[in-house]
């Protein structure tokens, strides 16, 4: 499609992500700002000055599968200054914009202009998951493991529909019921049970005798011995029970805690791009690590 330039705009809180990209960002311009959308509008003006005709603008939040060429074609047919993607109940943070037809005042482009105002609405029929709530995360994992979307687990399929990523250690007496995913460098100890569409992300440890059922254990989490974790999302010492919609912050580090190991920068190890196929590398803060 002849992509000339990629600009990534992020706020300060997300700025630690730039070192976590798996591929080098040689052709990507990074902007860190307190007002990302205003910055994006400003960048569009710059694109126009540089002679770039059309830009895709995407807010990185949900998971969307779409045909970029088809959306571009639709945009050209509609002949509006911008086209926004819509799905189901509402608009997505996805636009195709004619850079030279936007308001020339830097930062003045209104991304949320309603379709009637020089903006077309592109109906998107592909798979969409807003990822607005941890429940959406579980839905995405289940859908991916069931083949309902194009997101695929990485790693080796050690048995049908059980994927284990590089460096993960699965005790031979651990029971993993398909489909399931065990992330990079994670350890699953003996007499554990991983079941019901669970995913254990990278750098995790599931200790002896624990059951993980219909649960996502996000990167860099330790789950202690003889626990029964069901219908939940675990992130370090936090557990969100999806049935009760209640979050627990567990102070007892023998039960749940952030999993840390000396000598490695987790940020570089944890990929963040869902499109690359990994299940949501946790966007962990940088932390000191101790030997396991």
């Amino acid at each position: 499609m002849g992509v000339q330039i990629i600009s990534v705009v992020m706020d300060e809180a997300s700025s630690n992500l730039n070192s976590a990209f798996r591929r080098p960002l040689n052709d990507v311009t990074l902007h860190i700002t307190d007002e990302p959308w205003a910055a994006a509008a400003h960048i569009l003006s710059e694109y126009a000055e540089w002679g770039i005709e059309t830009a895709f603008v995407a807010g990185v939040g949900g998971y969307v599968e779409f045909d970029a060429e088809e959306m571009l074609q639709f945009h050209r047919q509609e002949r509006q200054a911008s086209t926004r993607a819509f799905h189901g109940q509402g608009g997505l943070d996805f636009w195709v914009i004619d850079c030279n037809r936007t308001d020339k005042t830097p930062g003045n482009f209104d991304f949320w202009a309603v379709p009637a105002t020089r903006s077309a609405a592109y109906p998107l029929y592909g798979y969409v998951n807003p990822l607005a709530h941890p429940r959406d995360l579980r839905r995405l994992v289940v859908d991916a493991l069931q083949g309902r979307c194009q997101l695929s687990p990485v790693g080796r399929e050690i048995k049908p529909r059980v994927w284990v990523d590089d460096g993960a250690h699965l005790h031979r007496r651990a029971r993993v019921v398909a489909p399931a995913y065990i992330g990079r460098a994670s350890s699953v100890h003996e007499d554990t049970l991983i079941t019901r569409f669970s995913n254990v992300e990278s750098f995790c440890e599931v200790d002896y005798g624990t059951v993980i059922e219909d649960t996502s254990v996000l990167s860099n989490s330790y789950v202690g011995i003889w626990l029964d974790v069901s219908h939940a999302v675990v992130c370090g010492s936090k557990l969100l029970n999806l049935t009760r919609n209640a979050t627990l912050n567990v102070a007892d580090t023998s039960m749940l805690r952030r999993n840390i190991a000396l000598g490695k920068d987790i940020r570089r190890e944890i990929p963040v791009e869902v499109a690359g196929g990994r299940f949501f590398g946790s966007l962990s803060q940088r932390s000191e690590m101790v030997n396991r």
């Binding site: 599968e65 997101l151 049908p160 499109a275």
Partner: protein
């Protein structure tokens, strides 16, 4: 009992009590002692199950796993499903709507991904070779 390639399919009896479970287990045991046993238990006929029946299922699963094999359940009757759910044993097993689905799940060959528009299998469906959206 019928075979489908190297996967053994056996039908569980209507009454899964101590006596029936013992007899069934004796019949299944030689098959579990092969290398990497792959067994599907067709549970469509089960109308009653007690703790001995559940224990038998767990014993067979453990025996299969010890030899790097697996044991899956197919067409689980509502009565058996209730017992398995109450005892929280259901999460130990992969369960399928039909025996043929269970048999196919043993094969590693990928199948085409299902699209969102198609009807989903109610149990653990077959996964295809999935590619991330580019």
């Amino acid at each position: 009992m019928y075979t489908s390639g190297p996967v053994i399919v056996m039908q569980l009896p209507e009454q899964l009590n101590r006596r029936e479970a013992k007899a069934f287990c004796e019949e299944l045991q030689p098959l579990l002692e092969t290398d990497r046993p792959r067994v599907v238990l067709d549970c469509a006929q089960v109308r009653q199950a007690d703790s001995a029946g559940v224990e038998m299922l767990l014993h067979c699963l453990e025996a299969a796993m010890k030899r790097d094999g697996d044991l899956k359940l197919a067409a689980v009757s509502p009565e058996l499903a209730t017992i398995l759910e109450l005892t929280r044993v259901d999460r130990l097993f992969e369960m399928f709507d039909t025996a043929s689905d269970a048999v196919q799940s043993f094969h590693a060959a990928p199948l085409p991904a299902l699209t969102q528009a198609e009807a989903w299998p109610s149990g653990f469906g077959l996964l295809g070779d999935l590619k991330a959206a580019s």
